[in-house]
Symmetry: C2
Subunit: 196 residues, 2 copies
Amino acid sequence: MENITDKKRAIFESTLVLVKEKGFHGTPMSQIAKNAGVAAGTIYHHFDSKETLILELYSYIRDKMLDAMLQLDNEAMNYKDRFFNFWISHCLFYIKNPNALFFMEQFVNSPYSNRDPLQDNERFQNTFRDLIKTGVETGVLKSVNSLILSALIHGTIVNTAKIHLCRRINMGQAELQQIVELIWDGMRNIPNASKV
Amino acid sequence: MENITDKKRAIFESTLVLVKEKGFHGTPMSQIAKNAGVAAGTIYHHFDSKETLILELYSYIRDKMLDAMLQLDNEAMNYKDRFFNFWISHCLFYIKNPNALFFMEQFVNSPYSNRDPLQDNERFQNTFRDLIKTGVETGVLKSVNSLILSALIHGTIVNTAKIHLCRRINMGQAELQQIVELIWDGMRNIPNASKV
DNA sequence: GCTTCCCAAATGAACGTTCATTCGGTCGGC
DNA sequence: GCCGACCGAATGAACGTTCATTTGGGAAGC
């Protein structure tokens, strides 16, 4: 029942795991091939080069994440619940897919991410940004540049997942909830807030 | 008037710039040497290997950062001011030393950072953690695991600096101040906070 | 003061390895 | 028998590292 796509996926998964463990530099194409159960040459039937493979893997992961996000989002919820739901489900996605998280983190901090226009990256960022923008415009969130706000919030999500995964700090639903509350307290607009 | 240390520093600086631009993988020793104005072999008089060079550069940067932090900290301040001062000066350090920031970010997301015990890394993390711990213990900050809190806050600092450096969002003292306020609102303990 | 010797610092061509990529060939479906 | 998918040994370039050699300056001997 193995078709073309399955082989491609095997290559993707193999690359993902190896890059997480060894970094881009430390993962030879030969080992990607071996772990994927294919020959070295086969990779070049599916991808032009190692760089292309990495770039396409990035898009692949990004799309998988976007799907997961959109599936869990519920526009009918009130804003706070939607914010919480979004934050937590996003965070849980990272926690459940550590390979994806570490790959993404390495990727965005590498020269790969600057070579490509990454234009359709926009769709991913916008999904998130729109939620924040709505919050700012309706006065639920603080009146801060929504680009800055969404980047900050995304940072807290990634960070929380990393803390959970790297340090040995037990972090269940309760702790996650505590952290979102904290983020929310920072981001939300406090009408009666006038002090020196 | 050039002594041993100057050569080492030249190698460090050269590595820092190249790693930022091209990543660990993309910076050959030969180019590090060329940009530092030394011969390839010279690097090996000062460092055992490329890995050692990277590891030592990491320590070098970390210590420079620690010095900058400690110099600006003022234990006599009241807690909130001290928190703000710390956050902002830390953030400004990153903004003024983008090469250091991007190097560190690449480093911690690379396999290098797991190979080494990094025991004296503790001293760096503790400086920050102690400030947060004090806040939690005196009830100024929310009663959350201080390890988590300090990691979260450090994340916001790094993130803010990156937003400033990567996106073209103008971010002066005023915007920075706005962001710390926001972080502070999230982290501080709100005594009369009981709601559902 | 001059010469000699010494050694650490520095050099850069050469080496051996590793790795991305290529290519001639096999196999199975149509 | 043709075609696309797949294989894996072969290739060649790039890279980290080595080493025989040069350089420069300071100490010792006279």
